[in-house]
């Protein structure tokens, strides 16, 4: 099978990255430094991820706002052009079929960024143009992301959190947003493919560490951020995943609203919780959550937390499951002890 490659593919290889297939793309899993070092670099300094595999669907035209308001869960009236918003795409049953960031670039232009595997289903639903192949996306993340980026692109480094700005870099139009998926402050840059390598190299030159999908996953897990196909998917509503803040039941109709209204009236039957282990043993997804000898839920994501230095997992649990409850995760003869803890596992920037 042939995989799609980003414009940075050769550079990733030259840097010694382990390349892996990921939703039809060949992407770096980790570089020579390894996932744990990349993770810690993001928590303490700054890293850059090549996330060009994420989809971008461009919606332009006077009816764009109305289309998005009735297609997705969040209320764009809460924000303005020049801002980014996290939202959900539901089916009629209220299941989250995708979680999406909308960059409201200017009055009648929206860049809608679904998960890589869902780009075509989003286009089926809202129309628009798939511009994924026309740009590369670099996510610069970490407490020092703005300092490093500011050394060669100060205007970009000043874009505030959840703001989106159209800027110029060396004569090229670039889109810069104060967004990310690590729990840290950071900047995402959507740039023309012809300058992607140059910007990536500039970032490494000033001291930003390249990081792969491995660190991206452990970072978002520590930050309690959902991953499509794990915490979100068929049969899972935003309310069950603690993401009711991304839903507006008052803005008017949207796909899946009736199901969410019904659920909000009868109450959710399960909720997403954190489980923190007692040892370094990584937790994994798909393990049974055991409380007082009974199977009460299942883990959706798990790994080792480089910051807490113990295994952690997100799990669906009964709504009455309390913080501090002693639980176990079981899979075959594997038993990992832990306790219910709040999400996120590690404090994230607002």
């Amino acid at each position: 099978m042939d995989f799609k490659t980003t414009f940075l593919n050769n550079r990733h290889r030259e840097l010694g990255a382990k390349m892996v297939p990921f939703v039809g793309w060949e992407m770096p899993l980790s570089y020579k430094t390894g996932t744990v070092a990349e993770h810690l670099a993001c928590r303490r300094g700054a890293v850059v991820f090549d996330v060009s595999h994420l989809g971008t669907v461009r919606l332009a035209g006077k009816d764009s706002l109305e289309i998005l308001q009735r297609s997705f869960t969040n209320d764009l009236a809460k924000i303005n052009p020049g801002r980014a918003q996290y939202t959900h795409h539901l089916d009629v049953e209220g299941s989250v079929v995708d979680d999406i960031i909308v960059w409201w670039v200017s009055e009648n232009r929206f860049d809608v960024m679904p998960n890589a595997s869902n780009t075509s289903s989003v286009i089926n639903s809202i129309g628009g143009q798939d511009v994924t192949a026309d740009r590369s996306v670099l996510a610069v993340q970490g407490p020092k992301a703005r300092i490093f980026l500011g050394r060669f692109f100060p205007e970009g480094a000043r874009v505030p959190r959840f703001r989106v700005e159209e800027l110029s870099y060396k004569g090229y139009d670039v889109l810069v947003a104060g967004t990310g998926y690590t729990g840290e402050d950071g900047i995402e840059l959507a740039v023309p493919n012809e300058i992607a390598l140059e910007i990536f190299d500039e970032l490494l030159e000033v001291g930003v560490v390249p990081a792969g999908l491995g660190a991206r996953d452990t970072l978002r897990l520590e930050a309690g951020l959902p991953l499509h196909g794990h915490e979100l998917g068929r049969g899972i509503t935003p309310f069950q995943a603690n993401l009711g803040w991304a839903v507006s039941l008052t803005k008017g109709d949207f796909i899946g609203r009736d199901a969410l209204v019904a659920e909000s009236q009868r109450g959710i039957h399960r909720k997403l919780v954190g489980v923190k282990g007692k040892s370094r043993q990584p937790m994994r997804d798909g393990m049974d959550l055991i409380f007082k000898g009974e199977v009460v839920g299942k883990s959706t994501s798990g790994n080792y937390s480089p910051i807490l230095e113990v295994g952690i997992a997100m799990c669906f649990a009964p709504v009455n499951q309390s913080l501090g409850d002693a639980v176990e995760l079981h899979s075959g003869d594997r038993v990992i002890q832990g306790e219910i803890c709040p999400l996120p596992f590690v404090a994230k920037v607002k």
């Binding site: 899993l29 996932t35 480089p306």
Partner: protein, 173 residues
């Protein structure tokens, strides 16, 4: 085997030539297409040349270093590289009996779990306690500080392993 596009085939190069090529490829920042195309291969080839010949190897990527009636077990450089960052090692208890071919330990990385199989039957007499707090030793020092356990055996002929040369060959592709 990588073809350099110049009629040169890599397997005909000696270690010194490979090192020279790698130095050149670093100096030239991989600008030459030949070096670019072989750089990944060179890295793999060079990293596989460090399997020490004082011990033997299993097809499951463990190494076994025999000393009298004891054998020290660990995982190979190839195995640790494939696993990625090791964050947890489930050590066996000292005194337990192990059976040839059975798993007696697990090495877990951020991406997967790998069973460690015993290359012969015997009893666990020592485990590497430093792996409890520093499992990353398996990555940084797979053949020395990252050893996993020592097994005392009755019959060395039970040991089913291959030479370092054969293991080099097994992992070269």
């Amino acid at each position: 085997m990588a073809n350099l596009g110049t009629g040169v085939r890599l397997k005909h190069l000696c270690e010194g030539e490979l090192l020279w090529l790698q130095e050149l490829s670093i100096d030239s920042k991989m600008n030459c297409p030949i070096f670019r195309s072989v750089s990944a291969f060179l890295k793999a080839k060079l990293s596989h040349m460090i399997n020490p010949n004082d011990r033997s190897y299993t097809k499951d990527h463990e190494w076994a270093l025999v000393d009298g009636n004891r054998v020290k077990i660990g995982i190979t450089d190839f195995a640790q590289d494939a696993l990625g960052d090791v964050v947890f090692v489930k050590l066996p208890e000292v005194g337990v009996a192990v059976t040839k071919g059975d798993s007696f330990s697990e090495v877990e990385s951020t991406k997967s779990v790998s069973d460690i199989y015993s290359p012969l039957s015997g009893n666990i007499v020592q485990v590497n306690e430093s792996l409890v707090s520093s499992p990353e030793l398996v990555n940084s020092s797979p053949y020395e500080d990252g050893w996993i356990a020592i097994i005392e055996f009755g019959d060395e002929s039970d040991l089913e392993t291959m030479s370092s040369t054969d293991y080099d060959e097994l992992t070269a592709h």
